[in-house]
């Protein structure tokens, strides 16, 4: 018996799903998750959501998603507008490009991607705040500890966030992404491969 792909309960178009995901992640992050520190570090799921959404939908959509989520975070928490948007735009774009160029399929990919997104977000914040001349609330050693622990925490929470993003975006992934050469069963000799 053939296995049919599972359909999402709500058949919404991709932009609507992404908008809902962005709003939900920001509200849950600011309203609940910021309350629970792990190893003394606050969990931040928003860069993970951006990276996973970018990985699932492509670099262009990932960059737009990153900008939107970043802007929502800045607006909701009264932070400097544009700061989080700038960092998250690069995270979303980079995650999308990773899939377009490499298409990795390792089992531990969500962990690596989550850790990478958390690392980029923490380093990005530090760099831009220093450039803006804001006094560091922590010493260099503390900042390094924050970045290392934040990256580990990002990897730990990446699995449930990955499952959530995949569930929300099910069936709405970008169709036109490039496949690696090994996906062609004719070994690249088919005339259809080079029109």
């Amino acid at each position: 018996m053939a296995a049919y792909p599972r359909r999402s309960a709500l058949s919404l178009p991709q932009p609507a799903r992404l908008a809902a995901l962005a709003l939900l992640s920001v509200l849950v992050q600011t309203g609940v998750i910021s309350e629970l520190p792990i190893f003394g570090v606050r969990i931040d799921i928003t860069p993970l959501v951006v990276a996973f959404a970018g990985f699932s939908t492509g670099s262009g959509t990932g960059a737009a998603m990153g900008f939107a989520v970043g802007l929502l975070v800045d607006l909701t928490l009264g932070q400097t507008l544009g700061l989080t948007s700038l960092i998250y735009t690069f995270i979303g774009y980079g995650a999308g490009r990773l899939r377009e160029l490499r298409d990795p399929e390792a089992t531990l990919l969500p962990l690596a991607l989550g850790a990478g997104a958390a690392f980029l977000a923490l380093v990005g914040y530090a760099v831009i705040e220093f450039l803006l001349g804001v006094d560091a609330p922590v010493s260099a050693g503390e900042l390094l500890r924050e970045i290392v622990l934040g990256t580990i925490v990002g990897a730990i929470v990446s699995a449930p966030v990955w499952l959530l993003v995949r569930r929300v975006l099910q069936g709405a992934e970008e169709r036109g992404r490039r496949r690696p050469a090994r996906a062609n069963p004719s070994g690249g000799l088919s005339p259809l491969a080079h029109p």
Binding site: L27, V28, Q29, T30, G31, V32, I33, S34, E35, L36, P37, R42, I43, D44, T46, S59, G60, A63, A64, G66, F67, G70, L71, D74, L75, T76, L77, G78, Q79, T80, L81, G82, L83, S85, L86, T89, F90, Y93, Y125, I128, E129, L132, V134, D135, A136, P137, V138, S139, E142, E146
Partner: protein, 314 residues
């Protein structure tokens, strides 16, 4: 076709990065009444009901998360609280004797009731959002200008001073915690007369420091820091005197700042109170006066800068 797709993708990235940089530059450079700040205020007004609703729906999860966090730290906290309780009991007895003696001498009757808590109307509020980064020590509460909350109003809870209102909008307000890098509060040591300014300690998260004390002042560990009831700078609101802020953890003198640990657990904020100055009360009148002074000073600086610019051009 592929090249066109690549060009479009790169153009989209460039446009979004340019837009972010533009927002960043304009926001960082403008004053608090600027267009982007107004946009932010408008957005917060619109999103406030959604946030409030989400907070109600998510409150069971929020409580569960708090319980998990408390479970990890409860053992050590209990031992510390028992120690502090014993110390505080001893101090309370000493202060009660002292207060009785002063009252008898008729000293307290005149002790500046004019600017005490009586001039303020407390508005109870609930924290509904918290910043996840270490760079912004801010929270969002569910009461705003419609409940009488205004920019710069002090925010307290049962443990002591939490911070001040940074941005008030109709159904909520953004609160800057005392550990935020932009915060400064006029403070003094409990039971002493020397005034200083309490500010976040750069390089130590959740740490404060008491500085600008008189040259001869010596501060010892274990002493408590409270609000002084005077203004740290023009344009601020007047914080009522005697609100506990923190406990001195490392000694300081007039020339070196003392390290202070906040009394409030800033990572587990729930219910707070905003101290709004009652219209026409002495604190409200003084705050308005100081805000006008700050505005006039700002206008004076702006005109002198313009004058200097004009001279330079000439």
């Amino acid at each position: 076709m592929y090249k066109k797709t690549v060009r479009r993708r790169r153009a989209a990235l460039a446009a979004l990065v340019a837009l972010s940089l533009l927002l960043l530059t304009v926001y960082f450079g403008e004053r608090s009444g600027g267009p982007l700040h107004s946009l932010q205020r408008g957005f917060l007004t619109v999103i406030a009901p959604v946030e409030s609703g989400a907070n109600t729906v998510l409150s069971p999860f929020r409580s569960a998360f708090k319980s998990i966090g408390n479970a990890f730290s409860s053992g050590a906290k209990r031992a510390q609280l028992e120690r502090e309780n014993a110390q505080l009991r001893a101090r309370l007895i000493a202060y009660q004797d002292e207060a009785q003696a002063l009252r008898e001498a008729g000293a307290i009757g005149r002790a500046d009731a004019k600017y005490s808590l009586a001039g303020y109307h407390p508005v109870s509020a609930q924290v509904i959002a918290d910043s996840p980064t270490i760079w912004y020590e801010t929270v969002v509460i569910d009461q705003g200008t419609s409940a009488g909350v205004a920019d710069n109003d002090p925010v307290v809870n049962g443990e002591g001073l939490v911070g001040k209102v940074a941005l008030a909008y109709p159904d909520g307000a953004l609160v800057m915690l005392i550990t935020d890098h932009e915060m400064a509060v006029s403070a003094k040591l409990a039971g002493r007369s020397e005034h200083g300014i309490i500010k976040p300690k750069v390089g130590t998260p959740e740490g404060l420091q008491l500085e600008y004390l008189p040259q001869e002042a010596v501060v010892n560990p274990g002493e408590y820091v409270v609000t002084a009831g005077s203004l740290a700078q023009p344009g601020e609101s007047l914080f009522p005197p005697g609100i506990p802020i923190g406990e001195v953890t490392a000694a300081g003198t007039g020339s070196s700042a003392a390290s202070v640990r906040p009394l409030v657990n800033l990572h587990a904020l729930g219910a707070v109170q905003v101290l709004t100055a009652v219209n026409g009360s002495p604190p409200a009148r003084l705050t308005n006066l100081m805000q006008r002074v700050a505005f006039a000073r700002g206008a004076g600086e702006a005109s002198s800068l313009n004058g200097a610019g004009g001279e330079g051009e000439g």
